[in-house]
């Protein structure tokens, strides 16, 4: 911590963290690093690397693989000691509580998902207590499926719609009925002895994108979590934008720009306009001929407006339905304006579209980019995420991993004034 006074114990902690980071970053199939590799990678001296690595071995997060794999001894001289990260020295739990479903993932320390589950909330009128019971049940079940005992779960991170205060209580309105004031941290703490962190889902989506999605290590990124609702996570200079006390921080400003609602996610907006189109086509005197505007979408949905989904519109656009393309473009207007505003204000290098609709990036991005060129002088890169619905739970796992690692390393540098 920056407030600590610098003593030699701090040096050890910092250097151990560097070694651990190098080992953890390796892909599982090439996890092993010789001490020589570590010396090259960290710039530290060989004895220091040895000491730190052995220390980490004692603590259990690093293993020395003495039994070398078959005959692949490359060099000439004395063989290196080889270390590798022990990914299953602990696990973390990530949870994404959405409006319609819950997604849970258990990951090992390298972030490899070892168990996943998802349930849909059937009845939308189900009360918050019942939802939380379902979430807890699912979480416990997944951990059991992964073959883990409670104490092997080192950290839990829960993402949910709406701002979350420092104590893990949902503030303000959310997309989930009745979740206002719910203490998610306390709820999950009943099942797990590990620390529980609660975070806004859009922030987690951004973290997920920076970890395993499109955002890479970009310093200035905006992440649009788009599905039934529209949310945004931002990061400037590599720092997540949280707002005072983690409070409200959303797309509410869209209401200042006219009749745009932050609740209107891309999927919902596109579906609604697609349904209007189908209804309009059905009302015509003549049935739509294949190849004429509106025909593809009507054909896909059997001419029933209630059966239209966003995917249908996307598919119709792919098949060349010009009316569907128009509906899509209208449905993107809210998102385009949100991105335009954020672009002018924050100047991100990249905007990532994630959530369910990211799967339709192929049809979504061209009109979105085109609209942006009309709205802003300099258009940033706009990409669709490969993580899609997994973005939030991925970010939850990443945040849980970060806290687990911090907790692991902290005792290495005990405060002298303890």
């Amino acid at each position: 911590m920056p407030g600590d006074i610098a003593t030699s114990a701090l040096a050890r902690r910092v250097n151990a963290a560097r070694i651990l980071a190098k080992l953890r970053e390796r892909p599982p199939e090439r996890a092993e690093m010789s001490s020589g590799d570590l010396v090259d990678a960290t710039g530290m001296s060989r004895p220091t690397v040895h000491a730190a690595a052995h220390h980490l071995v004692e603590l259990g997060w690093v293993r020395e693989t003495t039994d070398r794999v078959d005959g692949r001894l490359s060099g000439r001289g004395r063989p290196s000691r080889v270390f590798s990260f022990v990914a299953n020295a602990g696990h973390v739990l990530g949870i994404d509580i959405g409006a319609h479903s819950v997604r849970v993932a258990v990951a090992d320390l390298r972030g490899v998902f070892v168990a996943e589950a998802r349930i849909a909330f059937g009845d939308p009128s189900v009360g918050p207590e019942q939802r939380i019971t379902q979430v807890r049940k699912l979480a416990v079940e997944v951990v059991r499926t992964a073959g883990l005992r409670d104490e092997q779960v080192l950290a839990v991170c829960v993402g949910t719609s709406g701002p979350v205060d420092a104590d893990g209580v949902v503030q303000q309105r959310t997309g989930i009925p009745g979740f206002l004031g719910v203490d998610l941290r306390a709820a999950l703490a009943r099942d797990f002895s590990a620390q529980v962190y609660v975070e806004n889902d859009c922030n987690l989506a951004l973290i997920g994108e920076r970890w395993r999605g499109r955002a890479g290590a970009s310093q200035d990124v905006v992440c649009l979590l788009a599905g039934e609702r529209l949310g945004v996570g931002m990061c400037t200079g590599g720092t997540l934008v949280r707002g005072q006390a983690n409070s409200a921080r959303d797309l509410g400003f869209l209401s200042l720009m006219g009749d745009y609602s932050r609740d209107d996610g891309i999927a919902r907006a596109v579906r609604r306009r697609g349904a209007s189109l189908v209804a309009e086509v059905a009302a015509r005197d003549t049935p739509p001929l294949p190849g004429t505007p509106g025909a593809e979408l009507s054909a896909l949905t059997g001419g029933d407006p209630r059966r239209v989904s966003a995917s249908d519109v996307f598919e119709a656009v792919r098949r060349g339905d010009l009316d569907a393309a128009g509906a899509l473009e209208e449905g993107l207007e809210t998102a385009a304006r949100a991105i335009a505003t954020l672009t002018m204000l924050l100047a991100p290098e990249l905007v990532v579209i994630t959530g369910a609709v990211a799967a339709a990036g192929d049809v979504l991005l061209p009109p979105l980019r085109r609209r942006l060129t009309e709205l802003v002088p300099r258009v940033p890169r706009v990409e669709a995420s490969p993580l899609r619905e997994q973005a939030v739970v991925t970010g939850a796992v990443r945040l849980a991993l970060d806290t687990a690692e911090t907790d692991f390393l902290d005792p290495l540098a005990p405060a002298p004034t303890a």
Copy 2:
């Protein structure tokens, strides 16, 4: 730096920085700190404090005041050694190049201004080369006034309208005609051997406000630099929002909300509406009677719309002119919308209005706050800055001080692999 490997030299640098910071933070009239005070303040052991303090004394930024002030020896035992920050061990130069004037300040290491100057650009059609010549001349002159030689100026920071790239070149359009592409860093480097930093003026205003203005140490602040033009500086989680490569990051989004221009600063907007009001009153058949709407403003300006200034409108409002109050409210609309958007997006705890119009906070803030309650669900604190026109140059000095201190401390921890 975080990329460094942790060695004992790093510890020394960090600890020296802590001691220096404690000494620097003291107000000039109570600058002295005994070693006991430093032990208490830093938590470090006494020998360490001694060593670090003596090291700083050798380097010249700290002085040991052996000659104790009169008889005020408090304690019983051996008197403490007393250290104090040597504020004039070096100086920095802050420059604010505005559309209409240049402001320059020389400050000592504690940030006390020892010389200031300001000139107005008379002819608006004067070319950029000439302006820069004027700026350089003024800067050199002020440094000479302060009685300083070139090598005593440890850092120079220049603030100017418009985004600035990493090399100190003004990008994009600015409020200053012809400044696009001007390399301010190179220009100032001709007169000073110290490092020259160029930064956007709104960012500097924010830095200034956090240092000596209303923003205090708030982590999430928005600072509106309002005068002839409207600009914004933001900071979230204590980090300045810069955008990719320090690029554009402004209120351009206002254009998405209708006919609002980022160039319409509060002073200009209010003046324009005040002028319209005076013209309208003048066109009436009957001359305005004292006490009737519009009369105060007309009286203040002799009924001449061209003579109306923003201050006149503010003064008329103070005297109870209801029409002037209406003009003021209209003039605040753009700023209100900008603040509303930023509030919903970033959830700052505080919005600071700075620049020339901040002097009229008494009449400005009530209608602004009222309008905000209509626009956003949760209104943050909105305050007017006491720094006013000094905000940018104050921030420039602060940034220069930061870099000077970094440069001073860095050699304490030489990279082992140099």
